[in-house]
Every structure is written in C-alpha cells, then in structure tokens.
Amino acid sequence: MTSTGPERPLDPTFTALPYRRLADAALNRARDFGATHADFRFERLRYQDLTVRDGALEGASDREVLGYAVRVIHQGAWGFASGVTLTEGGAVAVAETALAVAQVATAMTREPVQLAHEPVYDDVTWVSAYEVNPLDVPLADKVALLTEWTGDLLGRGPVQHSTGLLHQVQENKFYADLHGTITTQQRVRIEPEFEVHGTGPAGFDAMRTIAPPVGRGWEYLTGDLRDWRAELEELPTLLEEKLAAPSVEAGRYDLVIHPSNLWLTIHESIGHATELDRALGYEANYAGTSFATPDQLGTLQYGTPVMNVTGDRTVPHGLSTVGFDDEGVAGQQWDIVKDGVLVGYQLDRSMAAANGIERSNGCAYADSPGHIPIQRMANVSLQPAPDGPDTEGLISQVERGIYVVGDKSWSIDMQRYNFQFTGQRFYAIKDGKLAGMLRDVAYQATTTEFWGSMEAVGGPQTWELGGAFNCGKAQPGQVASVSHGCPSALFRDVNILNTTAEAGSQEQ
C-alpha cells in the first residue's frame, strides 16, 4: 500500500469496516453481468455541529453517514444505486439494482457514456493535512471554548446577543473499480463562525467574523494560526460603527475588495461558470448554464490581463483538496484564466471523453454514499501579482471609492452574468484613505465587465484562502465544500446600490 499524502494514519474505526469484501462482491456481480465499467464507493462521514448563544450551549448534534454506492455503465448507459446494509448480499443487491437502473436508462440515453483514460492506482492512501481531528476533541472542551467566547461578547457596546457555530467534518472514502484502482482517503474540515447582534438608530444589524472555513483540525481554533481573540474583541466596535454609519449614496464607485469578500464573487462568477457540465447544459434545469461556452475557449476575454485563475485540488488545507477524486483521478492543478483569457474548464471523466479531452482534471465528487458523483468545483483561486502592493497600497490608488470586507448576501443569474453581493463591512475611501463605515451597500455587475474593470491585484502578502462548506449543485441536491484563494484587488467604476432604497415601493 502506498501513501501519497502526509504521513497521518487512517482512522482505524474506518479501516475496520468491511468495505473491501463488499467491493469485491459488488464489482464481481457487475463484471459477471457484463458492465463495461463499475465502481464501488464506500463512505463514512462524521459531522458534529455545535451552536452557542449568549454564552450557553444551544444545540449539539452528531451525525454519521455510512453506506456505499455502485455505479455501472452497461449498454452505454449509467446505472446507480446505493444502500446501507453491510453484508456481501446487500452489496450484490445494490449492484443488481444499479444494473437494473442502467437497463431502464438505456432507452433514454442517446449518446453512449465513455470515460477518459486514467492510470490505475493500486491500493493507495491519502490523508489531508491537519494536526488534531476536531471530532476526537472532548465535547466539553469545545463547548467551554465557544461559550466563553460568546459570553465575553455580551453587553459590550451595542451587543444584545451573540452566537457561535462550529461545524466539523471527518470524511473517509474507499473507492475501487473494475480497472484495478483502489484508493482510501481521509479528510478533515472545520468551520467556526461568530456573530454579534445589536440595535441602533436605523434598526438592528449584525457583525460576523471573517475567518474562513478550512481543511484543518482543532488547531485552527487553539493554535497560533489565527488571532481569534483579537477578531472577536473587534466585533462590538465594528457593530457600533456600522449601526451609526451613514447610508450609502447609490452610484458608481471604485472598489477595493478584501479576500474575505472576493472569494465568494470568484466562486459564483468564475468557479461555477467554468464547470464544463454547466457549459454543456447538464445543470440547465437547475442551477443553470454558463456564458463561458466551449467555443470560446482560448478567446474569451474574461477580464483584464492581471487576471490569472487556477483550478487546484492539491493546495494544502483547501476544502476541495483531495488525493483522488470520486472516479479515481489523481488531484491536479491547472489554468482556467490566463492573462485574462479563458483557457480551461473543470472536468470529470465522462465530460472529458465526450469533448475529446485526453484526461479528466479530477473534479468528480459525491457528497454522500447515497449520491452519484458529479463534476464539482476544484479550489478555484485568483493569483496575486508577484510584486503587487498591499491592501493599503491599493486603497491609496482610489480617489472616491469603497473598501469591502467580509461576505454576506450573494446571488447570480442562471448563465453567470448578472450578480449582486453585499458584505460585512463597507468603508468609504476618500483621496486614498479610509473615511469611516457605510451601510446598506450592495454591488451589482456583469461578470466580464466586472473582471474587465479589475485594474490591479495585490501581492502575495494579501492572498488568503477563503471558502464555504455549503456549495449546492445538481438534482438530487448535493452540497460540497470548496476554497478560493485570492489577493485584495482594485476594481474601477462599479455600480453600487442602496439596499434600503431598493426595498422601498413606488406608489402608482
């Protein structure tokens, strides 16, 4: 057995499960039946969610998802089935159901399914980079930390209520296919989030931490990776300033956007737009398609020449980082936008084959053993300028503008053109300097115009890895975690809305 990742052991409570026997039983049944491809995926996902409010535990829930899936190609059609019975007979029954589904599907499949070639990986393991599995930390220790932090915030300045959330996931996957690839993997991720609420002259509002979710362990909260105390201490003051801030005057402004906000704009307007399954119409009935169609590959001017975007399933601590995807394809890094031009897509094996692309770049993922793998997002990141300025350097280039920090509301249309985002904090910029907070701000733009207005990106010292646990896609719905790295960046002449004015009606 070969380890391709950091030297950390697989969880013995997972490796004790009977997945190899079940895989043999299911794959042998599919082979005997004449399937041209069959894969078996066994997963255990452990979730723990903690919510605290005003210094007290509000809810603690543990959930474990355990089961397996068989996917076959038979007579050119997909068949998929899943189950939870941990016996060889159960695995054979699931394989037979998948084969029966493929038979039903044959009549509705006009293009036979093919898969791009991938080398065989013979029984390899991969474990993500973390120090302490948060699910191994005593519950009482975690509750004590969260209740102390939220309790300390109560009553400070305008703070009337404080909340804390902690989502933790351990994901184990075993994959085997008829071609001989066998992979076993383990990933850990954690998402802490703290928010304070209060009331001012214009009503209530909230202020939230901007620390991102990460592919790390409990050390993210208790180690030296981030100064949580300082970030929490700042929240009451920031909320007080926001509650007293003037409402923005709608119009066009230059924007300097911090990575804690820009990651989400990248996710929606680049990440989803460069998924080949969307560009080909696979999501047309649900999340939608993409303006970035394959005929424009190599020619579409996505943004200014300072725009360089990569797809990456290998970056340390990324939420979408894996050793191998759910089709047995090794993790890779590649260009999506180069010098402002669209040059690449995110792929799985069937889409690569259908479009004459030699190899998948490893973006197949299923969020549970009960779901079929689909093309999901890699860590899609905007690269910094090697000798770029810091955030203050970008702000100094703005005469009249707004500095945007932290994400909040987001929405984009079904072809990824028109979007609208808000944030946690908005600061007026006057003559190259910050000039106090604003409220009621949303920025609204069209994707290529927005990225075409990006005049400068910050240097590596401004680059941060943001992300989300809850990216939704497909039917039946699946949720995936993904990270997006980016520097601070400067955009010229962007449309700013006043959200209070947007809420007002007009008498006729």
Partner: protein, 458 residues
C-alpha cells in the same frame, strides 16, 4: 442476518439507553430519480437509507446523535454516543416535559418503499419526448424524483408514532436549438400517476412559441403577474424566516422595534391568509413534531406533540410565528409548531393566472424566480432573478418574450401591495421545491414589482 425492522431499532435503542429518557427516530427512505439534458439521460439512481436518531435526556441536558444503522452493534454505539454526549452537555434552554403515551394504529406496519418502477409509464414517454423534441428543434433538460420516507418515532415516555410521507416532483426546461429562448414547467406529485412526459413537452413547445417575438426592456418597476410558482418561491422564504425566538430577539422582519414580536400587527392586506395544515388535501404532511435537533424554530423536547392547522397571517395580521414551547413561554404566545406545507389564500381571489393576464394593459408575466437570497433581514428584502420565460403582456395578450431581470423585493411588502389575486392552487417553488414541495398559492398581480437591473441570461 435478518434485516432489523424499524420497530426493533426503536425498542432496542430505548432498552439500551442509560439516560433518564430518550426519543428514537427511525427514518427509512427510498428514492428513485432520472435526470436528463440535451435530450438524453445524464444520471439516475435508486437509493435506500435508514437513519436512526437517538436523543438522550438527562434532566435538562440533552444530546442528539444520528447515523446509518443496519446492525445491533451500530445501534448500541449510537445509543452510547448519545448517552455520553448528554452527560457532557449543559442544561438546554428549551428543556420541557416530554410528550406522553400515544401510539399510531399503523405502528407495526413495515416501511413503504418506492423504486425505479414508479417511472414505468413516465420513462418510455420521456424517451419518446426526447425524439420528438429533437426532431422539432427543442432541447429538453429536466429531473424527476420520487421518494417515500417512513418515520417511526418512539420514546421512553410511551410514544409510538408512524408517518408515511411520499414526495415527488418534476421539472423540465426546454430551449430552442439556438439556445436563445427558454421555458420551464414543473410541479409536485405524490405518485407520478398524474405526470405525463408528452404533456410537459407540449407545454414547453407552447411557451417557446410565445418567444417568437423578442422584446428588450430596461430595469424599472413593472405591472407584473407572479404565477403561483413564483409566489411559492417568495412565501416559503418568508415562512422559513418566521422563528418567534429570532423575532423576539429583534433579528427579523417580524420583530417589533423596541422589543418583542409583531404578532397581532397588520403586515399584509386584510384579505391575506397565510396558513398551514398537516391535513390539507394534496399536501398532507406529518401530524406530529419530528425534531432530530433543536434550532431557533424547533425543539427536541417537542418531539411527538401534535402539529395543528395554524394561521401565520390571518385577515392581514401576523397571527403566529414558528414557536417551540420554550419560545412560546418567552413570547407569551401559544406554541405553534412548524408544518411541512404552506398555503396562501386571498379573500376574493378568483380565476386563473391567464385570467389575471387578461386584465393587464401592459405588463409582465413571469414564469419563475431563481437564486433568491436575503439582502436585509429588517425588511426581508430579497434579491433574485427571473428565469426561463418572462413574457410581455399587451392588452391582455402575451405578445412576446422579454429579457430576464434581477429583482429586489420583500415578500412581506408584496403582501401589502399586490393589486389582484387568482384562486389558490397547488403549486411548486422552482428554487425551494426540492426541499419544500408542498405549497398552494395564487398568482398575484403586483403593480410596481422592482426589476433592479437587466440580466443577459437566456
């Protein structure tokens, strides 16, 4: 080894717990789906899932642990984890007495499954529809899903409740060969006996024909007909945000400035009634609380209590909010538990969407809304987009297809501003229907719907 029955799982878990009390929820779910794009099937599947939730109670402390269970060893580990977690917990703010002895007459019955066979009639017709659409220059993209969940809820206090919930829905998007026009049809169903693939394709063909004339319109406020599906899109969000606890804490559109909730206050036209009823015909839902974990709008301590028909807005006044017994004590209002369906009725609402259209001199008819997100909780300002069919209405007739728009609107404001309503009918939210499919809503005519900007999406 014989498969464990849900009833056995419940009894064995209750026997194994070392806590003062326990609630055990077993959900047996089978589902079958087909998904297609570009006139061909893309993915499909049949899934079976058995999830057990053990909620352990030790005085005022509680903890919830869930997992997939197929062996007694797995069950014992789950119970042990729940007992340990409850011991480590702090007293819960929603602590209350557990519901007592009550049993369903069908408790001993086996789970009811679905299978790929639910599409025995639909699947061949869909294959035919692909061929017809291809030959007539249409491209079809869609999804059908059917699932049946049988829930068993047992407790150490004597509850033995069972509920069978079939849930199905369908949706199909049609585009012209040039991908410049788009239309959508969709709905909810309990068994797919009423879903005809040929009829779906025919309706898409009719709507795409409306798009032969294309009209570009700018952003602005328009006299707009929101069909029942779009009204469902907006009302579901208003319902999800109606936690009494959050309102009492001053964090939602249902909060009274200075403290407390707006219950009793007029927030909509007097003709408006927004309500839920687990027995509503065609939208039948669980008649008792099923709460695997606590949240601002639900409590594990309320498991098994009867869910009643509830008015959320009555005669235009905010009548109730989502209340646990704990938040009811906080707000001084009765406990009003969440119901898995939602109905909007307008007194005087009559006729169909088409009849509302017939009364419009110049305005817009939407198909559905998408990517709806909250911009401001204080006003419940939502943003989102139109998609798959915005039509120009002139002198009561549909005369062409219009570009898509981004909107910024509050559903609460709309309920106070609409000019006319159709009769309420079973509907299906385009955005939230995969998760909340049991709705009945009218079409609404809004004289000044805020189209904030133009979207190029087609």
């Amino acid at each position: 080894m014989a498969t464990l029955t849900p009833q056995t799982l419940v009894e064995q878990a209750l026997a194994a717990t070392r806590s003062d009390d326990a609630v055990v929820i077993v959900s047996d779910t089978t589902s079958a789906n087909l998904r297609w794009a570009n006139n061909t099937l893309t993915t499909n599947g049949v899934m079976h899932d058995v999830e057990v939730t053990v909620i352990a109670f030790q005085g005022a402390r509680s903890a919830s642990v869930s997992g997939n269970v197929s062996t007694l060893d797995q069950l014992e580990q789950l119970v042990s984890s729940a007992d340990a977690a409850a011991a480590a917990a702090t007293p819960a703010s929603d602590a209350a007495e557990l519901a007592g002895d009550r049993a369903s007459a069908d408790w001993d019955d086996a789970p009811e499954p679905t299978s790929i066979g639910v599409y025995d009639a639909f699947a061949p017709a869909l294959g035919d529809a692909f061929g017809r659409a291809h030959s007539e220059g249409r491209i079809l993209y869609g999804f059908v899903d059917h699932e049946v969940t049988t829930t068993y809820l047992g407790s150490s206090t004597g509850l033995r409740l069972r509920h069978v919930q079939p849930t199905g829905h369908y949706g199909c998007t049609g585009k012209d060969a040039a991908l410049t026009q788009s239309a959508w049809v969709g709905g909810a169903t309990r068994d797919f006996a009423d879903v005809d693939a040929h009829a779906l394709d025919a309706e898409l063909a009719r709507r795409l024909a409306w798009s032969q004339r294309s009209v570009d319109l700018p952003a602005g406020r328009y006299d707009t007909i929101l069909p029942p599906t779009a009204v469902a899109d907006l009302m579901i969000y208003a319902y999800w945000q109606s936690s009494a606890r959050l309102a009492h804490d001053g964090q939602s559109v249902y909060s009274k400035p200075g403290g407390g909730t707006r219950i009793g206050e007029r927030i909509a036209k007097e003709s408006v009634r927004l309500h839920s009823d687990p027995a509503y015909a065609g939208l039948e839902a669980a008649p008792f609380v099923i709460a695997p974990s606590s949240s601002p709008a639900s409590s594990v301590f309320d498991n098994g209590l009867a869910v009643e028909a509830t008015d959320w807005i009555r005669d235009g006044r905010l009548s109730s909010l989502l209340q646990t017994r704990a938040s009811a004590a906080l707000t001084g209002a009765p406990a009003t538990f969440a119901v898995d369906n939602l109905v909007l009725d307008v007194d005087g609402g009559a006729g169909t969407t088409e009849e509302l259209v017939a009364a419009v001199e110049r305005g817009l008819l939407l198909t559905c809304l998408w990517y709806i997100r909250e911009v401001d909780p204080q006003t419940l300002l939502l943003t989102g987009l139109t998609r798959d069919g915005v039509y120009l209405v002139e002198n009561g007739e549909i005369t062409g297809a219009v570009n898509n728009f981004r909107f910024n609107e509050s559903p609460i404001s709309l309920l106070d501003r609409f000019a006319q309503a159709s009769a309420t009918e079973l509907s299906f939210s385009r955005e939230w229907g995969d998760y909340f499919s049991r709705t009945a809503t009218p079409a609404l005519r809004v004289p000044d719907f805020n189209m904030s900007s133009v979207s190029q999406a087609r």
